[in-house]
Symmetry: C2
Amino acid sequence: MFTDDYFMEIALGLAEEAADEGEIPVGAVVVCRNRIIAKARNQTEQLNDVTAHAEMLAITAATQYLGGKYLTDCTLYVTLEPCVMCAGALFWAQVGRLVIGASDAKRGYSRIEPSLLHPKTRLETGVLATESQELLTKFFKRLRT
Amino acid sequence: MFTDDYFMEIALGLAEEAADEGEIPVGAVVVCRNRIIAKARNQTEQLNDVTAHAEMLAITAATQYLGGKYLTDCTLYVTLEPCVMCAGALFWAQVGRLVIGASDAKRGYSRIEPSLLHPKTRLETGVLATESQELLTKFFKRLRT
């Protein structure tokens, strides 16, 4: 039951919530021993804050929950490839594993420098990538009409 | 009166406050038309949050004050060269001008990729660099004894 698809589905649900609120649809969950300890969606418009990406809010919420600054035993699921800011935050948090949905050809950290993540972070990409990309495409199409 | 040294002195005062609280001493101020609209110091230990760097907190505070997401007409002063996460945030905020104190040979964004900042951001480095570096050296020396 607790597969990468399972947790990414939950992140996708959060991305859909973001879209409903007029936000670029990105969702993130942090999982520790098969338990979700943080959920977040992109809230940059709502909070009027460019730093309020789903990953940043998820890292802050997860470390608050754990009472420690590091996420070495956790997996962070995010529906879209993190940007440089979020990759930098994931480095500081020393996240144990990062699972990404769609890649981001324009703003993804890997276009700048694939080694931005912490050397101990294990990486998995392309999980429910099509579903995540469809959400984004639909959102931007609606914005332009 | 409103020189780069003047505002960097204020950022240095915030860095000293951070040191007094057991935090790595880094301070930041955001200035808009010679007016300080945000002040922040590194609070990662206190807030138990790796994202709570001085620059991140200053960006959030400044955009809250302005009621807009961008800092195109502002200057951000920071006593230590931003890391990759903070450079990414400064990119998103489109900060008009960035003034840096000491450079960071280990974790500074420019070691990874000097072009992480927004193309419109004007950059000034080395303002009161010695004073900022001295604060950091003193802090780490005290930590080790």
